[in-house]
Structures are given as C-alpha cells and as structure tokens.
Amino acid sequence: MNNVKSRLAKEKRFQIYGIFSIILALSLLSLLFISIISKGYTAFNETRIQLPIHFDQKILDPNNTEEWKTIRKANFNKLVRNAIDEILPGVEDRNNKKKLYKLVSSSAEYKLRNIVQENFSVIGTKEKIWVLADDDVDMLIKGHINRNLPEEERLIDNQELEWISILESKKIIKKFFNKTLFTSGDSAESEQSGILGALIGSLFALAITLILSFPIGIATAIYLEEFAPKNNKFIDFVEVNINNLAAVPSIIFGLLGLAIFLNFFGMPRSAPLVGGMVLSLMTLPTIIISSRAALKSVPPSIKEGALGLGASNIQAVFHHVVPVALPGMLTGTIIGMAQALGESAPLLIIGMVAFIVDIPSAITDPATALPIQIYLWADTPERGFIERTSAAIMVLLVFLILMNSLAIYLRKKYEKDVN
C-alpha cells in the first residue's frame, strides 16, 4: 500500500513540475512586458514650459527687411532667454544664469524660428508659447528623479528645484502628449529625439523585402509543389538548401550583404534598399515553407476538376489552386514580414546603425530601422533614453501584434474556406 502511496505522490509531484514550468514561462513573459511598460509608459508624455515670448522686432528684423534670408539668421535664442528672464527674474550670477537657461530644451529656438517662418506678422507681438523642457526637468516632473534625495545625489540641484516649483505654482509647466516622439528623427538630446526616422527606415526596408520575397517565394513554392519533377536530384538539392537557409543565423545574411551587395556590387551603405534585400533573403525560406504547406492543403479535387474540363496544368494551378491557397500564403508572408521587422543583426552588419537625424526620403538614403534605434538608445545611459527605448519597444510590439493578428485572422478564414 505504501508503494502505491509513494507512486501517487510522485505522480502529483510530476504534475506540479509541469504546472510550475508553465507558470514560470508565463510569469517571465509578463515580467518582460510589465518591466518594459512600466519603464516606458511615461515616454508618451513630454513636459513643456509656457514662455511669454516677445517677438521683438529689434532682435528679429531690426532693419525691417521682412525677408526670410535676414530673419533666419536672427538670434532666436535671445527671445527664449528674455522670456525666461521675465518669468524667473532676479538671477544675476553667470553660472546660475546658465543653469536657468538650461531649464528649457535647446529645441525652443527652432520652434520659434518655425513660427516666424510660417507667419511674419507675429513679429512685434507678444505670445504665450509652450516649449519643450530640458530632459532633466522632464524626468523630475515625471517623478523619475526623487525630490527628497540629498542634493549631491540628484541631477537637479536645489536652485533648479526652486525655479521649477515657481513654474509649477504659476501652472506654466505641464505634461502634454509626446508628439516629438512620433514626429522627429534621432537626436543627441533625449527630449528632442523621436522614432519617425527609424520607423520610415523600417517601412522602406520592409517594402523592399515584400516586393522581392513575396513573388519569388510564392513562385518557388508553386514550382516545387506543382511542377517540379519528382525524384529529381536537383530539386532535392533545392529543398535541402531551403531548409538549411531557414536555420542559418541571421547575422550570416548580414555578412553576405556586406561582402556581395556592398563590396562586390558597390551598393550604398546604411541604405534601406540593401537592408530590405538582406531581410528578403532571410524571409524567403519562411514564405516558401508556409506557402508550400498552403498549396498542399488545397483539396486535389479542385485541380482535378479543372484538368478534367480541359484546362492546361498552368491554368489549373494559377486559376484554381493558387487563389484557394492565397490566404494561407499571405499568412506565411505576414509572419515572415513580422520577423523581418524585428530583425536587427544583419542590419547592424550592413551599416544601418548610425546616428541619423534626418528622416530618410528615399530607399538609398542612410537610415536606421526601429529595432536598431532601440539598440542604439538602449546603449545610452541617460534616464530619458531608457524611457524612450521602452516606448520604441512598445511601438514595435504593437506593429508585431497587429501583423500577427492579421495573420491569425487570415489563417482562420482560410481554414474555414478550405473545409
């Protein structure tokens, strides 16, 4: 009897191991999501300070030329400084003054310049304008810097803290939705940096990947599944190659891109064009394998019916088999695209890793991609960039989730159609 008891206890223990490992895996997953969301959700806000800007004619356009050529060169920074002096008067010491002006992000003067460029009639008027706060101020307002720490351990010293409290009491420092994050490229200052450049780079690369790998992948799958001669040595070799390519580490594709596309063919470095080409080599096996599965699952009666009515082999395949299998092929393609979107190693090798401020406008412009931007920001120790890294990750994950849900939806629909 004792024996049975101990065997049952073992049984129970074994089950608990199983449950424990599932719970462990799922809790690690949730830990990952929680840590990224908790680090990043604040990045969707940005702190701005309202400044009473006087668009002084004497500073902007003393000779009243009303020409952008001369106004462009005006000292817009002076406008910002005057406004800061106005709301926080009485700072005389040189060092203190420097600190005071650093409350506001250096992007403020560019913002004023844009306002004037759009409309010359603001010259001479006085307006209240919200400008970006410096990243340290931003961190304080968001609560990432503890105000109760001793001064020497704080990034913001007592003097600055006092100024910020004055601004808070006047209610001219406030959090807004972070538009900068979605409308600008990379920047050395965390408060001015955004993911738009990387996002566009990723989209360009993905477009190239799709254009190249979708037709080629599907054509390969159709040939291997429908037309290839059986028991042919060459075809077997092709299949072995496809299976091997699916398992080659992604960084090796980067080496291929570097040696062949960049050095042999002399294509531009850091360009989404080359990135997309490398990624398409990587996603081809995924697309081929899943498209073949989709073609295989089409009931043979469909093809036989078409053949029986006198269609040629090609007509039967292209008019009847492929349309039925298309949603399944699209599912595989979308999954391949999602992989390509998250991939970074081969892009590092072909040089899509650089500090690029400009937003790329063509597929041959130097660009980064979203995962690479995440990698670059993750390397930067400032707290402001950690926050933005997590936010960029969230954006990337949202794209991936959307793509995968589309793939699942298509697969469900396809399964219903075939049966």
């Binding site: 089950q15 490992s21 599932i22 690690l28 990952l32 080629i216 037309f227 580490p249 090796i252 040696a259």
Partner: protein
C-alpha cells in the same frame, strides 16, 4: 536616369506590346479560328520583348566591369541598346503571330522557366553565403595561420597603429570566443530545456483542451518578441537583479555576466524547445501509452518510462536545433554579454561570443583589407559550419525517429 526608370519604361512598353499583340490576334480571329485565346498572343509578345530587354540589362552588368567602361558615357549605350533589344524581339514575335502559332504553349513554357529560375535562387543564396565567407576567410588565413585562429587562446583583434606600440599586437586566437559562446548557450539550454520540455509534457498529456488553447499561444508570444527587446530586458532588469542578488551573498558578479545573457536567451528559446517537444511527444503512437497505462502504470510513470524513451531521439534533435539557434543569436549577447575575450567557465564573469565579435569587428569604420575585418568573416565561416552541422545532425535524428513510427 537610373535603373528603376528603365524598368518602369519597360513595363509601359510591355503593356503596350500586350495590346498590340491582342489587337493583331483579334483581327486575325475574324477570318479563321486561332490556336489560342487572343490574350495569349498579347502575353507572349509582352513577355518575349520585356524579358529580352531585362536579360540584356543583366548581361550588360555582368560584362560592364570588364569591357565597356572604356567607352565614354557608356551608360547611355545601355539605355539605347535595351530599347533596341526590346524592339527587335517584339518585332520578331509580332511577325510570328499567325493562326497556327501556339501562343499558349509558349507562354506556359516561359512561366515554367520563370518559376524554375525563382526556385533555383535558394541555391544561389547558399552559394553566395558560402563564397562570401570563404573568400574573405581565405584572405584572413593568408595572414593568420588557421591553427592559430582555431586553437589560439588569446583574442585581441586591435591591430597596432604605430609599429612600436605595446600590447596591441593583434592576436586572433578564437578559443575564448568559442568557450564563451558555448557557456552562454549551455546556460540558455539549462533554462529552456527543462522548462520547455516540462511545459510541453504537461500541455500535451495533462492539460485540458481549454487550458492548452489558452496557454500555447501565450508561450508562443515569447517566440515572436524581437531579440533586441530581450537584449534590453537583460540589460535593464535581469543583469542588475543578478548583480544585486550576488552582492547580498557577497559574490562579485560582473554586470555583463554570462549568466544574465544566458538566462534571457533561455527564456527566448523556451517556446522553440516546447513546440518541437510537443510535436515529437504527439508522434509517439497511442498504443504504446495505452499498453503502459493498461498494466497499471501511473501517467507520470508512463511518461518517464515509455513516452520519453520513445521520443528521446526526437527530443535530442529538437534540443540540438535549439542549441544552434542559441549559438547564432546575436542581439541578446551584443547587448548583455561582454566585449573582451575571457577564457573562463565561470558564469558570473563576462565572456564574449562569436556573434558579438563579428558585430564589434564590422560596425563602425572599417577598411576591407585589414585582418581585423577579415577576421569577422572567418568567425562567420566557423559559425556557419557549426550551425550547419548541428542542424544536419538534428534533422537527421528527427527524420530517423519519424520514420520509425510511420
């Protein structure tokens, strides 16, 4: 003018060729029945002429480097000749359009050739990978003997800038990289192996269908997360946690310890292990299980003594595939593992891996002829063959095992 414009022009010309062919065949149809439907005559005209133009462009680029660059404004000739090639082949085909011309057969032949060409591309890619790593590695091994590379224990790829500089002679002994790679892969497998296997067993043998339908997609989310996200997770959460825990126990753990990178990599490959184990466990025939349960074994005894031994080759194959994935993984180790080579088996120290070194050697300014850059290709060659062999063995085992039960 650049290539995309040429292709655009060819496309427009192709479309007009289609309509020209269509029109001619429609006229012909009025006196006698045609061999094929009119649209095939249009298609053959469009296909023939645009393909010969594209073929000409490809030919041009193959020989351009060797022969044509001497000509002045040689690119202009390309545009001209492409156009001529298009026109000649379209005129020839246009003349061929007659009642008895088998347009459909011709179109279908071309389509089949195109499909075949696409599927041969897989071989070209493999050859491309092979050539690119072999050529550069060969150049590398001309300066550094292959034995020094494979068996040397000192890795510091910085070449001296001045002749008399001390301590930067450029050593390319890759053993510390291999040990580092395997150490991290080993830690990853210690995490992913048991967790992946146990959750697969639980899900396929114990869990209700409802639980399985919920839990399985959730674990598969882990497989869809980009590796750069895991890298960030390792740097920002796991590494500090391990370091702080180590401090509590009085251990000095490097902030880029092998443990942190391996742990996170383990999390990444859990779904990989569990989905492969799931497949092989489900492939074990039901009558083996029933036999064991029928003579009074408990479920866990059946699993341990019947199912796992029966599925063992498949499970081992799956684990090998997971190892090859761990070896080739780049972003996690680039972000979370160390940069400097360190010959150690201590998981608390920082080690570096093959992939990390490839990235370090190739990112940033590079001259293509220095041994430093070429070393990256030699490492790539080793990595390529390591994963190739692992995959070959793994797939072989898995296939053997499948045949056994089919």
């Amino acid at each position: 003018m650049n290539l995309s414009i040429i292709f655009f022009i060819i496309m427009i010309l192709g479309v007009s060729a289609y309509f020209a062919g269509l029109k001619k065949s429609l006229v012909l149809r009025n006196d006698k029945k045609l061999n094929s439907t009119p649209s095939y005559y249009g298609s053959i005209l469009a296909l023939n002429s645009s393909l010969s133009a594209i073929f000409f462009i490809i030919l041009w680029f193959v020989i351009e480097k060797n022969f044509i660059t001497q000509l002045e404004n040689y690119r202009n000739y390309l545009y001209l000749f492409t156009l001529v090639a298009f026109l000649i082949s379209s005129i020839l085909t246009y003349k061929k359009i007659k009642h008895e011309f088998k347009a459909r057969d011709n179109v279908e032949k071309i389509i089949k050739i195109l499909l075949f060409a696409c599927s041969s591309l897989a071989i070209l890619i493999t050859i491309g990978i092979f050539l690119s790593v072999i050529f550069e590695s060969n150049r590398f091994f001309n300066t550094i003997p292959i034995a020094d590379f494979l068996f040397g224990t000192h890795w510091s790829p910085q070449m001296p800038i001045r002749e008399d500089q001390v301590g930067s002679s450029g050593a390319f002994g890759a053993v510390p990289l291999f040990t580092g790679t395997f150490l991290i892969a080993f830690i990853a497998m210690c995490i992913a192996g048991p967790i992946g296997l146990m959750s697969a067993i639980y899900l396929s043998e114990y869990a209700s269908k409802k639980t399985r339908d919920i839990v399985k997609p959730l674990t598969e989310i882990l497989a869809g997360i980009p590796t750069v996200v895991y890298g960030f997770f390792a740097v920002i959460v796991v590494a500090p946690f391990i370091r702080n825990t180590g401090e509590e126990f009085g251990l000095a753990i490097a902030s880029e310890s092998a443990l942190a990178a391996g742990l996170v990599m383990g999390i990444m490959i859990i779904p990989f292990v569990s989905s492969i184990s799931d497949d092989v466990i489900n492939a074990v025939p039901q009558n083996l299980k029933d036999g064991s349960l029928g003579i009074g074994a408990t479920k866990s005894e059946t699993i341990k003594k019947v199912i796992i031994p029966a599925a063992l080759p498949g499970i081992i194959g799956g684990l090998l595939l997971a190892v090859s994935r761990a070896i080739g993984e780049t972003m996690i180790v680039v972000m979370a593992a160390g940069m400097s080579a360190n010959l150690t088996a201590n998981p608390f120290e920082a080690v570096t891996t093959v992939t990390v070194q490839i990235v370090i050697l190739l990112v940033g300014d590079q001259e293509f002829d220095s041994p430093k850059t070429l070393a990256a290709f030699a490492l790539g060659l080793v990595l390529f063959f390591m994963t190739l062999i692992l995959n070959y063995i793994a797939l072989h085992i898995v296939r053997k095992y499948r045949e056994q039960y089919e």
